[in-house]
């Protein structure tokens, strides 16, 4: 069996504050195959966005990677030095940021921002780079002349497309989409995601799709992982999680999304609020809000247990 494209084992990420380290990712393990679309969902602060930047090692201070392993295409991501990271970034793993408005440099043209990516990795001469930048824009559905535009001259959807063009410039094997459509309206959102899927089928890159919009995630992904309070609580095929979720949190989330039910059933939200990561609950982090919690849940933090082929959940009661 071939090695997965990305394999994370017991990864831990801390934010070091003057009141002590806060664990933002707690012993997370998952694997991603070539060409696979893995959705990562959860509430804000659950750790999903941290994961994306942790892989690229671009988390700003006060973040530190506090343990675990992360292997990508056979290389240990955590052991790479600055120069190797610079080479890896964008050529092998790239990212589309949430709000492309802020992710684009406001004082230089978008064309220049695509071109400098190509030039930085020695992929082309300046002339060839400009031509390729134009090709990339067309690939994401924008006219070539937009190369000379500045970020503020483009609409939100167009800026996001530019972000995608930049992400695909060096033909990476993994593209991380960090809340790519949160700032856009629904119609544009669907268009963009369709477009990404078409590109993905054509070019064959794997995708980590990070979002809090469960419905979109389930529609779009092959497999789905759910984060809660810095832990991975359930992971499995999208269809399986949609039809038969095993973790109470996932079940609660699905009940809160009407579009998935479609039968006028009751909208139920999960009572309570996500816990503070500085002072998490004992045992299972979800137990204060869980309708099925028992004593064991208060005492021991459950590990991921395989319940079906490629479907695991971290719950004492799921087995």
């Amino acid at each position: 069996m071939t090695e997965p494209l990305l394999s994370i084992r017991d990864l831990c990420v801390d934010y070091v504050t003057d009141r002590g380290p806060v664990r933002a990712i707690d012993r997370v393990s998952l694997a991603l195959e070539r060409g696979e679309i893995l959705g990562i969902g959860g509430e804000s602060g659950s750790g999903k966005s941290t994961l994306a930047q942790a892989l690229l090692r671009t988390l700003p201070p006060p973040a530190v990677i506090a343990g675990g392993e992360a292997r990508f295409e056979g290389r240990d991501l955590l052991a790479l030095g600055e120069a190797e990271l610079r080479e890896l970034r964008w050529q092998r793993i790239s990212m589309v940021f949430q709000s492309a408005m802020d992710a684009l440099n406001p004082v230089i043209t978008v064309g220049e921002q695509i071109v400098d990516t190509l030039l930085a990795h020695g992929k082309a001469t300046p002339g060839a780079a400009r031509a390729r930048a134009g090709d990339l824009l067309e690939m994401v559905g924008l006219p070539r002349d937009r190369l000379a535009a500045y970020a503020h001259q483009l609409s939100g959807g167009m800026r996001q497309r530019v972000g995608i063009a930049i992400a695909l410039a060096l033909e990476p094997s993994l593209v991380i989409l960090d809340e790519p459509t949160t700032a856009l309206d629904v119609i544009v959102e669907r268009e963009i995601l369709e477009h990404i899927r078409a590109l993905q089928r054509r070019l064959g890159f794997a995708v980590l799709f990070i979002t809090h919009d469960l419905a979109r995630m389930l529609q779009f992904s092959d497999r789905v992982a759910i984060f809660y309070a810095a832990r991975l609580v359930e992971i499995g095929p999208a269809a399986a999680l949609r039809d038969a979720p095993r973790h109470p949190y996932t079940q609660g989330l699905l009940r809160a999304f009407p579009s998935l039910r479609g039968d006028g059933g009751e909208l139920a939200s999960i009572p309570g609020a996500p816990p503070s990561l500085q002072d998490p609950p004992s045992g299972c982090r979800f137990h204060p809000r869980c309708p099925r919690a028992v004593d064991l849940c208060r005492q021991r933090n459950p590990e991921l247990v395989q319940l079906a082929p490629r479907h695991s959940a971290a719950c004492h009661l799921a087995g």
């Binding site: 700003p60 006060p62 530190v64 990677i65 506090a66 343990g67």
Partner: protein
């Protein structure tokens, strides 16, 4: 009210900053020393106007700072000058902030046309060059501390108006103010119990900055001869030193100590403000703990996220 906001914006956080940040502690001690000299000093030195020796004597055991061009004791001049210069400095610094706050907070709170008009007013005063304006006004009024103070306030208030307006605008949009407005509280009540208390630490920072400005500008105007040249202040000391051609006669002691005092006080005040910034800026705080964490494990800060295994 929000305890978290109070922690960052109340006056108590200043005391915290002074204790915790080295720069602020240093600044506070230095400032205290000068205030002490200003308060007690004049009683310990002789009459600064007295002619005590041969003019332009270099520092000696008898006259620690030597004598000036008139034959007066430079040390006495500097010490007595401290009192007046600091007093005017603090006084004007405070006045400038109060006036700036009056205009800035009004503009920021009421918005609309009031804001438009007041903003134009302080922006104009910001762009007019201060020293020439100060000179022209001071020339028409009788010389003395009142004129000096007036002129300094007229040329210095605009910056504070701008800063405090920005802060008022930001606070105005916050939820707790909107809640008070909806609850029907009077403008006066909202201003005094919701907005102003949350601006206090900024007001203190501005006062410190304005004091630095006031002392510097005061010395500059007096150097030109626009203060009361018969008074003993830091500025007039320098005026007389220049007048008596101190430089060309090599009598450096007649201007060096005074200038040093001005710089030390200004530096102390700036350090206070800088230390306060360090403590209240959350980003700088976070970085500090992070660096300490890395150092403790013999690792250097890197641009990319560092890998610091926790050996549990």
């Amino acid at each position: 009210m929000m305890p978290e906001a109070a922690r960052v914006t109340g006056v108590a956080v200043w005391w915290d900053a002074i204790r915790r940040d080295r720069k602020a502690t240093f600044g506070a001690i230095l400032l205290a020393l000068f205030v002490l000299v200003g308060v007690v000093g004049p009683w310990l030195v002789g009459d600064p106007d007295a002619l005590v020796g041969i003019p332009l004597q270099p520092p000696s055991a008898e006259h620690w700072f030597g004598t000036n061009g008139q034959g007066q004791d430079v040390l006495a001049q500097v010490v007595v000058g401290t009192r007046v210069s600091l007093a005017i400095g603090f006084g004007v610094g405070l006045a400038v902030v109060l006036f700036g706050a009056l205009v800035g907070v009004t503009a920021g709170y009421f918005g609309g046309r009031v804001d438009g008009l007041l903003s134009i007013l302080f922006n104009v005063f910001l762009v007019l060059p201060g020293l020439p304006l100060a000179i022209v006004i001071a020339a028409y009024l009788p010389s003395g501390p009142l004129t000096l103070g007036l002129v300094l306030v007229v040329t210095g208030w605009a910056w504070n108006a701008r800063v405090l307006r920005a802060q008022t605008l930001a606070l105005r949009r916050r939820d707790f103010v909107a809640a008070a407005v909806v609850a029907g509280e009077s403008n006066w009540r909202i201003l005094t119990s919701e907005i102003l208390p949350n601006m206090m630490s900024l007001v203190v920072a501005q006062t410190i900055g304005s004091t630095v400005y006031a002392i510097g500008a005061q010395v500059g105007l007096e150097f030109l001869g626009l203060g009361d040249v018969s008074a003993v202040t830091w500025g007039t000391n320098l005026y007389w030193a220049q007048n008596d051609s101190a430089l060309l006669t090599g009598a450096w002691w007649t201007f060096a100590p005074t200038g040093l005092c001005v710089a030390l006080v200004g530096f102390a005040l700036t350090m206070l403000n800088s230390g306060f910034d360090e403590i209240t800026n959350p980003r700088l705080q976070m970085e500090r703990a992070w660096r300490a964490h890395l150092l403790a494990r013999d690792q250097k800060p890197t641009r990319s996220t560092p890998v610091v295994p926790d050996h549990d």
